[in-house]
Symmetry: C2
Subunit: 455 residues, 2 copies
């Protein structure tokens, strides 16, 4: 443990008091569980995840530098009204509390870690990250994955529909294409990913072949976490994005391209995706990313009103305590919009791509409006992924199938060539975003190691 | 309330002691909540569903004739060890308890409603069905929908891919095609279904059109409810079906064909399905359906071993207390297999179809084995639908798109012609299966009324 007071962060630390992402942890020592917890990324990385609240010592934590603050304990020690909301084994109650509370809690937390008078109270409640176990921070309700990067969708179209008139399907510029994934196999960063087994069949095969996937891939994505629920039968308008979405995190949507290719016509991906989706242990609140908001790419097809983020809209939500959610009537609203997140993907420690999230065509607000326009309701803990983030340049592609052009052009790495993932490979995604006053806001990493197929 | 003792059921009642399906209810009277409960089908049918446990008087019930037994109260009154498992606001704990407990609880319940010595204790704990509110009986974890009826898939292939060499896609006979749906919009029978709004575009349209769906359809399905969970990374073999699946129910997978047609390439159905899926309030345990087990249709393509239900297999599960889950080594196992469920679909009270579940090509056991072969884990409360059940004959088709051949041949009903659903239409599905000794086992109905689009 460092001699330095963790409240005195190094200059420019991307996890300073301007960031304060939320997670769930078990501290080391007598307060912690002896047995590895379900849903934890234990030291061997082999744990499963369910995010359910247990009594194994889990608690809400807030990251500060390379420490994690026991948020419930701090709230109790400082007499905060949010003690019961934070003294929980999951982020669920905080997520459900809604935007005004999210703002109030963040303001309180900022004071706890910055006001000198609180130093002596807060200091003992900071645990070194290296000493704690991080868990899936909330129970995932529904998981939806989108397909929102034009560069990614175009690359896949060129590879798989070379004879089509355009790389994008006719619907692509009119709606954010998405599908439901398996929420029960969303795991926290650090959990091993067992290579999936299943059927594949190439045109050269006369019958399907069964075995471990030979085209195991990554998808570098950003995941959005729904806090406040909505009512069945009532769409959520574009401008209400921040009334419902609490924050975001990095997400790796592991994909078995060979399984997916054989199964996905006509009802979409299933086993090619459902074996694991990894998310960061840290959820960054949207409020920490205000300085990272950017205008999304130019819309090259007219949009239906419910998706039109170029037109004047005003927030209809009544629960907002913030004033930045809507501009004056008749003006262009800068929220909802894009986020300038700079992602780095490393394979066994070597950077293989730097996908820029700002290039993604469809915004998270458009995705939310689309997902609910048919009346589908939101629940606390709903998670939706942006889809693979790929920039225009080949060193910005967010998947191996793009980086190697479906295996044709292997990556040359110091430890050998790679087309798709091999057993033992470790993929780690990190990211940062512009913060206030020239700072950087770090996103929690998402990492996973490929374990051999079982059976 | 009838003068007759509800324990003296009419001869041949399909909800006799040989059936005993489980649900969750709130009794009428002082013990009930004043406010309409989330997740309930209130009298106006407009409630939403989330299945979460609340303290609004919900309790586990077992249907007997036209009454519901307060199972937790009966267990307590009779000193049963299952009192705490049954005195719950959801079926979750019972589902999670596993096959041996399911058998033991069923045996106990059978005794409570048949042994004369218990009559005076049990009688006051029976509530007329007409007096109670029924709720979504468990929290749906992941919801998967399959596409397992060859007749249905062939019909849709003929309609939508008329130029394809065969109506079925090349993968159809090799794996049970499925996709994930939205578990947060699974609602209990009786809940109104708000007509969804969204984008559609026919070849004749130059741009997408936005508005309420004009091709709102039904899908007559059977839903399977997972009880015992499985471990991430470990497939569930075919023979372990009954170690994990607790029971089944009728399911109506409402579908907006126009929304679906425009959105579904390349990632499958999304908003065309996610607005509502209705399930019966009653979950029939598989043990009640032993007499309904039948051999599935002949497999006309060779199956990979993990799906091959024509080969000798033995159950690997160790939790089984029953002896019927596996035949002798080397013999053909009759479990897993098909179920002979006779479904009736009525539109505004008029029978429009009688889909026979026994004609479905892929069994629920094959679907479970496929769903987990990539290592995906099961959670308590996972729900999977068979896909639309259609028999070979036109009066056995399980959807309006088939019954009217995509609107070309309207149904002639006493109250007018129908192609797709109109506002105010009520669709009700019922079913029965052969029970022991010539009895019939009734499945709980699933019904829903179409409410006009909002906004």
């Amino acid at each position: 443990m460092s001699e330095q007071n963790p409240l005195d962060l190094p200059e420019g630390d991307p996890f300073g008091p301007h960031n304060l992402p939320y997670g769930v942890f078990t501290p080391a020592g007598p307060g912690a569980s002896d047995a590895p917890a379900q849903g934890s990324a234990s030291s061997d990385g082999s744990a499963t995840s369910d995010g359910s609240a247990t009594s194994d010592g889990r608690r809400v934590g807030v990251r500060l530098g390379s420490y994690v603050l026991d948020a419930g304990a701090a709230a109790a020690a400082l007499g905060s009204p949010y003690a019961s909301l934070l003294a929980q084994p999951t982020l669920g109650p905080l997520l459900a509390a809604g935007r005004r509370t999210w703002s109030d809690v963040r303001r309180a937390l900022t004071a706890w870690v910055t006001v000198p008078a609180h130093r002596d109270v807060v200091r003992p409640l900071l645990h070194p990250l290296s000493d704690v176990t991080l868990h899936l921070p909330f129970e995932v309700a529904d998981y939806v994955d989108f397909y929102a990067s034009e560069h990614h969708a175009s690359n896949l179209g060129r590879m798989f529909r070379p004879d089509a008139p355009t790389p994008l399907t006719p619907n692509w510029k009119h709606l954010p294409i998405g599908y439901h994934g398996r929420s029960g196999t969303v795991v926290v960063s650090g959990t091993d990913v067992v290579r999936p087994t299943g059927q594949r069949k190439t045109p050269a095969d006369t019958a399907p072949v069964f075995g471990p996937s030979i085209k195991l891939d990554i998808e570098a994505e950003v995941g959005f976490v729904v806090g406040a629920p909505s009512t069945l039968g009532t769409p959520v308008p574009l401008a209400d994005f921040r009334e419902h979405v609490f924050g975001l995190c990095l997400l790796n949507d592991w994909s078995a391209r060979d399984l997916q290719a054989w199964e996905y016509v006509p009802l979409g991906p299933f086993l090619g995706k459902s074996f694991a989706t990894s998310v960061s242990a840290w959820i960054t609140p949207l409020e920490a990313l205000d300085a990272a908001r950017v205008t999304p790419p130019e819309r090259t097809e007219p949009l239906l009103p419910y998706l039109d983020d170029t037109a004047a809209t005003t927030a209809s939500g009544s629960g907002s305590g913030a004033s930045d959610s809507a501009g004056p009537a008749g003006s262009v609203v800068d929220e909802p919009g894009g986020y300038d997140l700079r992602i780095t993907v490393a394979l066994n420690g070597h950077v293989i791509s730097e996908p820029p999230f700002s290039t993604v065509y469809w915004t998270a607000a458009q995705q939310l409006a689309h997902m609910t326009v048919n009346g589908a309701s939101l629940r606390t803990g709903d998670l939706y992924g942006s889809g693979t983030v790929s920039g225009p340049s080949p060193d910005q592609f967010g998947s191996l199938i793009e980086l190697t052009w479906n295996g044709r052009d292997p990556l040359e790495l110091p430890d050998g060539k790679r087309t798709f993932l091999e057993d033992g490979d470790v993929v780690t995604m990190t990211a940062w975003a512009p913060g206030p006053d020239g700072t950087r806001v770090g996103l929690g990493e998402v990492t996973g190691r490929i374990a051999p197929a079982t059976g």
